[in-house]
Symmetry: C2
Subunit: 719 residues, 2 copies
């Protein structure tokens, strides 16, 4: 298992490096193009630099707190997690800001969609492979150094035979949880900061440019254009990457913790599990992830060799299906080899011994793909829902908004039903461990998912550069067709991100109850959280409101920063009429600074809420309340995330549909109404939705790490 893990890490990072070098060697077009590209790169670097400063401070603070109150090994694992997540985001963004101009140039030189797609996806693959590679590298270190060499796994297994005493008794659970926390904190900062950055720029540019002065998107006269392009990189590349990295790590770690729980729950039974079986179960999520990563590396490598066809969507889908197919087949083979003696697992309560965890993972893969398809159905303009929003635009902005909201709300049910079915099926196949494995399955080919998702903003940026450099219409046409596919993949990716986040959060939630149970009694076999306990019920109520507060604050932050941006754009247009005539370049940097400062300032409060709310709840009302809080937050956030993602996606595509010449096309009243819909939807789908994914995971991890402390020290316990 460890060999396969090492191979997966090695090959994935090697391919990432090779692709990075290949991209770097490509020509970066005309002087104007490379100039604009370097402004974008500088803007992104500048933002990351400021962000990393906050990040260092936050990481240092948390490190000290963990070292003092939890354990030194936990604190170290936290740092490893933070470093891996930050590295993946950094590498991905560097690659994206290199690739964008090269995509434009490929389109300009070859005029061939296939070749252009190839450049874009190669650029994206650097991010995808880094995300999975760095995540596994860190887990590899934690597992080897802390779990095996320092003997934490053995220690945790032995402790179960006596009563629990505290954190010291679940050292390995703590180590992997702290590793996950490291990834979560970076993800929160990247996602929230990036989300505010990108949408403030986008909204500001649209509010003045499109609505007031009627100049098209990405027009070089608009001072906020480049800030908008920088935003795509910091929000949709770095943010998305660290988000999915966190889900990935969350799924693997909660699979490992639930394996220990399975061991623990069989202790008192007639058929206990041996230490060797425990090791096998703990290692299985890592094995599955490694096989998945190797499959993704192979699929992306094949894509590199292969001549790409003219249908952009087919290329992307082909790679995704190849990766997921390879994952399913290779893990099946590995599972047979890994769990050789079926009979030794009969005590696990698995209905189908041996391959039952694998079955759960496959259920996860299938439901993940289906959830993505549902998101596509609701948001793509090839289907009825988004088209009806486009039609409503003819009746003005009020109906556009109303219809889009109704669509988003109605779209929540099916994905959630799929999640529910997957939970029931995987639980009855392999217990809670099976639910954890389903989460793992959904995320097993994350390397390709992220590559395809990163392809989107790269293409978007490429189109922006083409527009700003006034390249030929044909170039823009190619980048536009790439971008349109990118919108669909983004919607599918969002469905995927939400589904996997929900699964990861629920597995982490189960781990929380395991850690809590461990504190309370050594005989508690089943994990129980009674929702009719008044503290739990109150916790669930308050928990349900947390995502709303969090979302409200994020939208408010975007709106506030966008308002400042609007004033700046107006000021530039009014002070110098030459800008609007296209005779003078606007001051791009002031807009970049506004977005950057706004994002850095505004992201602190929501990030703080995510970390502090389970802590405050725990130390005041105790662990039952926190249990309710977590379940309430998770439920509420899943619904809100799907609602906002699909409403926003539908508004965006309704606008695109009109821009394609329907209902009067560009400049018609319907188009104006659809722009308003899109502007409302932007912060919903790109800031709120994705940040909610992280909210639920970070709250669960924080609760998981601190439960042993606040279950003993809380105000409610005094009564």
């Amino acid at each position: 298992m460890l060999i396969i893990l090492a191979l997966a890490v090695f090959f994935s990072l090697l391919l990432a490096l090779l692709n990075y070098i290949r991209i770097g060697k490509m020509p970066d077009g005309t002087k104007e193009m490379s100039e604009i590209c370097s402004i974008i790169r500088q803007g992104a670097d500048e933002f990351l630099k400021c962000e990393f400063r906050i990040l260092y401070a936050a990481a240092a603070g948390i490190f000290i707190i963990l070292a003092v109150f939890v354990s030194l090994s936990g604190a170290v694992c936290f740092l490893i997690g933070a470093a891996m997540s930050a590295l993946a985001g950094l590498v991905g963004m560097k690659s994206a800001t290199l690739s964008n101009v090269r995509v434009t140039d490929e389109a300009r030189r070859s005029g061939d969609i296939g070749k252009t797609v190839k450049v874009a996806l190669t650029g994206g693959s650097v991010m995808g492979l880094s995300v999975a590679g760095f995540a596994l590298l860190g887990l590899f270190l934690v597992y080897i150094v802390f779990g095996i060499i320092m003997g934490q796994l053995k220690q945790e297994a032995v402790q179960f035979h006596s009563n629990f005493l505290g954190i010291a008794d679940i050292p390995f659970t703590m180590s992997v949880s702290c590793y996950a926390l490291g990834c979560s904190v970076i993800a929160m900062i990247n996602r929230v900061g990036g989300g505010i950055y990108t949408k403030a720029a986008d909204m500001g540019a649209d509010l003045v440019g499109k609505s007031e002065y009627n100049i098209p998107e990405d027009d070089p006269r608009n001072p906020a254009t480049i800030a908008d392009n920088v935003g795509d990189n910091v929000g949709d590349v770095a943010g998305l990457g660290s988000d999915l990295l966190e889900s990935y790590v969350g799924a693997i770690t909660s699979g490992m913790i639930l394996a220990i729980y399975t061991y623990y729950s069989r202790l008192g039974s007639a058929d206990p599990i041996g230490y060797k079986t425990l090791l096998a179960l703990v290692g299985y999520p890592l094995l599955f992830a490694s096989a998945g990563l190797l499959s993704c590396t192979a699929a992306l490598f094949i894509f590199n060799l292969h001549k790409a066809g003219r249908n952009a969507k087919k290329n992307l889908d082909g790679t995704t299906y190849l990766a997921s197919g390879l994952t399913v087949v290779s893990t099946l083979a590995l599972t047979f080899a890994y769990f050789p003696n079926e009979s030794s697992y009969s005590g696990l309560g698995f209905k189908i011994a041996g391959i039952s965890p694998w079955l759960c993972a496959v259920m996860g893969i299938v439901s993940g793909i289906l959830i993505g398809q549902v998101a596509d159905y609701y948001t793509s303009y090839s289907h009825k829902p988004a088209l009806s929003v486009a039609k409503a635009s003819c009746e003005g902005p009020a109906l556009t908004i109303t219809k889009g909201m109704a669509l988003g709300m109605s779209s929540v049910l099916i994905p959630v039903m799929l999640l529910g079915l997957c939970i029931i099926a995987s639980y009855y196949t392999a217990g809670l461990y099976g639910v954890g494995m389903a989460a793992m399955g959904m995320l097993s080919f994350v390397a390709v998912t992220v590559s395809v998702d990163t392809y989107g903003p790269i293409s978007d940026n490429a189109g922006g550069i083409a527009e700003m450099c006034n390249l030929k219409k044909e170039v823009r046409q190619i980048t536009d067709s790439l971008d349109a596919v990118g919108n669909t993949t983004a919607a599918i990716g969002k469905g995927f991100a939400i589904g996997s986040a929900a699964f990861a959060a629920l597995s982490l939630f189960a781990s929380y109850l395991y850690a809590l149970n461990g504190q309370e009694s050594s005989s508690g076999i089943a994990l129980v959280l009674n929702i009719l306990d008044p503290l739990t019920l109150a916790g669930a109520l308050v928990g349900g409101a947390v995502p709303y507060l969090f979302s409200g604050m994020l939208i408010e932050s975007v709106a506030k920063t966008a308002e400042t941006m609007v004033e700046e754009i107006r000021r530039q247009f009014e002070q110098d009429p030459l800008i609007l005539q296209g005779k003078k370049k606007p001051d791009y940097n002031r807009c970049i600074n506004i977005s950057s400062k706004g994002a850095l300032k505004e992201m602190k409060k929501p990030a703080f809420i995510a970390v502090a709310s389970p802590l405050a709840a725990g130390f005041i009302f105790g662990p039952s309340f926190v249990g309710g809080l977590l379940i309430g937050t998770t439920l509420s956030a899943i619904m809100l995330a799907i609602f906002t993602a699909n409403s926003g996606g539908a508004w965006d595509n309704a606008k695109k549909h009109i821009e394609n010449g329907n209902y009067g096309g560009k400049g018609s009243p319907a188009h104006n109404a659809s722009i308003i819909g899109d502007t409302v939807g932007d912060p919903l789908k790109d800031t709120v939705g994705p940040s909610l994914d992280i909210l639920i995971k970070i709250m669960s991890v924080v609760a998981l790490i601190t439960v042993s402390i606040f279950s003993r020290y809380n105000i409610a316990a005094l009564f």
Copy 2:
């Protein structure tokens, strides 16, 4: 207790009758005024007639199902409940459609705000007193006839000593639940149908009138004006009345059921409760409600005698505070007399024997008032939040919508925290029975709450009549000032309705677990629903999505009907230019018909979902899944209801603030943006929010009644 109950019913209905007669005797103004009023009345009557036809069919169907599958007594109780709720709605609407023109006329003749307020509130009081009076009358019948005379209470108490067998073992619980179901079904039809009716008319009128042709609200040239006014009566009067009647009944009945549960849970203990104590506990919610109703009757009677001041808000607040104060004092005195021997209650687990249920009720009253105040803070234009939405209107519709949504989302936390605190405090004071009593307390002065809430649409209609009859500006000024107060009371009333619905639903949910527990074992003392059971968790996930689907469908229905309305208005304007010049009357009746037909057609699907979803879930996945479904739906609906109510209220008041001359006043770009915000908010705050209140109650009641059937017959049990 029974004497006080009888007195309360008698006096409240007597005062309602007297006030109705007094209103009827007042003059109804000029010929034009009485003409318009009679069109409104006819439109409302016509709609109710069609609605009642659906209602008869639904009631007959449910009666047969209940008689066959549950019990004949349950079916009869259902009919009583349905009749009481329908009666209250009918009487209230008749009174409201009489009062509106009389308010206008009072303003015209006297020019005195105080006198005008008095007419409006007297009209409203007919509805308020009927709601509470009829609700208690029905409960009185059920308690006396089925509980005492037919001995169902005794029977239920005796059965506890043997094992549970099925529905036959909880006959009284079934009877009161079926009574509550009767009220719920009517409430659902009234609320959803009325909500679609009123907002389709309102949206249609605004979309064409204000946005396209720039004619003011309530302008007689707009063909949809009268449909809009009819809508106020069917939605905000009949709908709101039956909604709160249902919450009221839900709170009382779940208090009664939880009393039986308290008895049941003490059975195995060292200190069981006697049958007499059981009777006292079951009767206490009725006693409390009766005292509350008597206090309300007294307060409204005093208001009738008293000369009203010139400050409209003070008059309303004074009556509310008087009623709640009288309720608190009178129930305290009654409680001491009712529970004479404190020591006999020591076995109840009450921390403060004797008056602990009273304390819980007072906590409910206090938290209800606080929740209302929070709603006022977020929506009134005297406070920062709504003002910031008004300010954002200067930047166009996109920012208006964005800011309003952010406001609504952020406003969810505090009311929910108040609910949570109230649950914890009342549980630790008097157990689950205490939580039920808190719900009871919150609703104890419902007669005044509904009176004040009905005052709003009456004033709104009065203003419309003044505008349509081109009365003097001073008249409109008086009705406008009444209307503005009505908006605030409506927002407070909505907060109250959500809070009480949440409490009632949670108490019903506890009753559900009691009924379920009864099916499963006679020794199960504690009510437990483990959220980590996979079926429960999946149920909670799906449950969380149900309110979204329901809301999406409602918004879609309103939008669809409004679109038809828009086409009709445009058609009339285009076919006959004389209408716009004011030289010819538009065809009001066609618009009334569109709203009416649309509402009747569109309300069936959401109403069906509310009733069918717990049934389908129960018969497929069994009772644990339904438990999850109920808690998921309740949590999700509370959040959505607060969000939609407050966003909608803020948009409405931001528009009013601009119309008062700020940011350019009427006709300015800011005003146009604010109209778009208001149009988006209308279906959210007046259709979706209030309907969600009913959704959670009706689902709980349906589950409660059918749990004994589907807990034995479901597909999941086959595996």
